[in-house]
Symmetry: C2
Subunit: 209 residues, 2 copies
């Protein structure tokens, strides 16, 4: 059922509730009762469509990775300069995770749980020709070759960029009690990061640049 093309209306409600609840609380923190409640069905119905909790979780995680791929990586076009690539990536990551924080939370939850379930689905982001992540890596490598930017490990740069963008969204609940700007207007702070992260990474902090 979960895999077949068309979902019934009930199944769709279950699936969307699962995205919200798993996204918010992760695999362990979520419970089937809450998912059933949000979908306005009973637990028995939930188990009718998805035999085990894990089946529902896997379906949700696979869908989430697809959404991430679609919203973050497809906007990085082959042949973009490093500047365009980084600008686009910062903008998409921060806007997307700002609007859908449960997606990055689901991902981080899965990381903390050892990635046992998610590992099978993350290959969709792969590095092979044409896959989403490969365009980021390729664009950086080309930019180094033609001297737009200094030599840099594109994998390291990927983590630096994604980490800079995603980390404040993940840690907001704790750091907001410490940082006045983040506490008073989280959206403004997070959206201001699009410029900050791009400029810091691309131009650095030294005034000469």
């Amino acid at each position: 059922m979960a895999k077949k093309g068309q979902k019934t209306e009930t199944e769709l409600r279950l699936f969307e509730a699962a995205l919200r609840v798993f996204g918010d609380k992760g695999h362990y923190g979520a419970n089937t009762q809450e998912i059933a409640d949000q979908a306005q069905v009973t637990k028995a119905s939930l188990h009718y469509y998805y035999r085990h909790k894990d089946d529902l979780y896997e379906a949700a995680f696979e869908y989430a990775i697809g959404k991430v791929s679609e919203n973050l990586y497809t906007h990085i076009q082959e042949g973009m300069s490093a500047e365009e690539t980084l600008r686009t990536f910062c903008d998409r990551v921060i806007r997307f995770y700002h609007d859908h924080p449960w997606l990055i939370k689901m991902f981080i939850h899965e990381c903390l749980n050892g990635g046992k379930i998610g590992r099978a689905y993350i290959v969709e982001l792969g590095l092979e020709e044409g896959k989403p992540l490969s365009r980021f890596i390729e664009n950086i490598n080309r930019a180094v070759e033609r001297g737009e930017i200094r030599p840099v490990d594109p994998y390291q740069l990927f983590f630096t960029t994604l980490g800079s963008c995603a980390f404040p969204i993940v840690t907001q609940s704790l750091f907001s009690s410490l940082f006045p700007e983040l506490r008073e207007d989280p959206s403004a702070f997070l959206l201001a990061r699009r410029e900050h992260v791009f400029e810091t990474i691309y131009f650095g902090l030294t005034p000469s640049s």
Copy 2:
């Protein structure tokens, strides 16, 4: 008991086991049976020293924050240049979390759970005069004033630096199946980040700088 000065040997074993298990699995993922097993006592003994699971978790989290403060922030001295501040911070964060990944995992788990319990303890990192985080912020502000670096929001820079350093350690379990360098020699990749992160943030990517 937990708060008093001297811990008995059994209590110490329990506490250290709690650090490991909570650190690895977070508040919800951890269970008291596993902590008791690792401490080689029964659950009943665990509950003798710590009435509720939450008491043990709070003690562990408070201790963890103290460790983080002690190992990351005390090495940032008042009056350091921005260059020294960032170099020191990258070096300490990556080395420390590389050696003790459960500490950053515990922190992120708490963030994902909404920070309800940890919020009370994170104020120890505060921004007030003399508190650990204030030195980072102050050093950056001074560096801007005297023109060492261009104008930058020190709070934004804090997230950029910490996120760049911590994110790969947190997400290693999932991204290692995607990035060959990270999979084949995680330590080398993570330790190489100390230079990469500092140079990317301080000097940027543009070759002119």
